[in-house]
Each structure stands twice: as structure tokens, then as C-alpha cells.
Symmetry: C2
Subunit: 127 residues, 2 copies
């Protein structure tokens, strides 16, 4: 299957799927998907697991992923209120691919670091 | 393989591989990798193929991908100057995964659009 030509790939006329790709590969999007692939999380658990994400950013990320159909939000009618987030089937597919890419990147960091060193050395003026 | 916990995943203390992931999934990074997976391109060809990317942004994207070891830059000593960009073996691996994710997203856009419609309708106040 061929990826569309995306000839007018600027911010305003971007192909619709490009925006979805940006959601799942965004900084917090990646981390949320990978965490939820392990198991459902409550908001506070997710926030702790991910680290220094602000409440606002995590809320936004979850809303975006929920609206795209990747994340299911389950608000339990209990006191105190309890909200669980989990992956939908579609979200699981997305998360598996994103995790695959993250793992590949992590595995290949030594090669990336060698490449960077060679690149920087070639550009350092010799004394 | 488990992805690192990334407990302190903010912009300053991000795990090194997270930055590489951002390079290959950046708006222009994705498009450059997918184009170069087809065949090597000259700078001007790449710019035309990708669409409305500025010369500056394309140059920056290519430099980042070259420094990470994904793109090979071949400046031919001819007049007028000719510069070809191609994927390294590492870059080909990255590009194949990124293309896979892009294609998956494109294939699933109908599901994403249905999900969005349902989400928006559930939040539209009825008259």
C-alpha cells in the first residue's frame, strides 16, 4: 500500500491521517499508549507512571486519544470519583506499533550515538 | 523487551532515545524518511515531493537525520553542485517502521473518524 503523496503537507491542509499520526507519536501520546498497553490505569497512576507531565497536558493527551477512538474513559459513579483509562482495540493496535518503534529506537541508540560522534568530529575544526 | 520507565520524561531529562523517536516521527522527518525509502533524492526533488516545507526546515530535518545516522548526504563535486540524499541501513530500518505506522494510520482513518463523530455528538447539547 502506498502512502498518499501529501503534496500540501503544511499545518493547515495536512492529510487527516497525518494529524492522527502526530497524536500517537506526540511526546505524551507515546508514553500514554505504552503505559496503557500494560494495563488500564487511573488518571493519577498514569500521571505518576509517566513522570513530569502536567495535569493539563495529560488531560489533553487523553482527550485527544479518546476522541480518536484509541482510549476508553470509564468514569465510575463512586465516591470518591474514579476514572479508569484503557485502550480500545484500535488503540491497542496503535500502541503496539508505537511501542515497536520505541523499542527499535532504544535498541539502536548505540548506532545513533556512534553516528552522532562521527558527524560532530567531522565538523570540529582541528587545532 | 521492555521500554525504559522514562520516569523523568520532561524536555530536559528525556531518555536519549525519546529524542531520536521525536526526530523520526516529526512532521517533516516522517515525510523525508518515506520519500527516501522509495529512492535517493536531490534536495530540490525532496522539497518538491514533500510539498510546502521551507528550505530551512528541510535542511534542518535532513541535518538532524544525517547526524543520527539515518540519512547519507552525498555532495558531488560537479558544477552546478549536486547533493544526493539517501537512507543508510539504519535509516532504512527506521523508515520502514515509520511508514508502517503511517500506513496503518491511513488505513484506520474511517474508524478514527467514526470515533470522533461519536465523541463530538455525545458532547453536543441537544436542542
Amino acid at each position: 500500500m502506498k502512502v498518499s503523496p501529501m503534496v500540501s503537507a503544511d499545518a493547515t491542509t495536512l492529510c487527516p491521517y497525518r494529524l492522527v499520526l502526530e497524536h500517537v507519536t506526540s511526546r505524551w501520546g507515546v508514553l500514554v499508549l505504552i503505559r496503557l498497553l500494560e494495563r488500564p490505569h487511573r488518571f493519577s497512576e498514569l500521571r505518576r507512571a509517566i513522570g513530569r507531565v502536567s495535569e493539563k497536558m495529560l488531560t489533553q493527551t487523553l482527550q485527544t486519544l479518546e476522541r480518536d477512538g484509541f482510549v476508553h474513559r470509564d468514569a465510575k459513579p463512586v465516591i470518591p470519583p474514579r476514572v479508569d483509562y484503557s485502550l480500545t482495540d484500535l488503540g491497542r493496535e496503535a500502541a503496539e506499533q508505537v511501542r515497536g518503534l520505541a523499542q527499535w529506537t532504544e535498541r539502536r541508540m548505540t548506532d545513533v550515538e556512534s553516528a552522532r560522534q562521527a558527524y560532530d568530529e567531522a565538523r570540529t575544526p582541528s587545532r
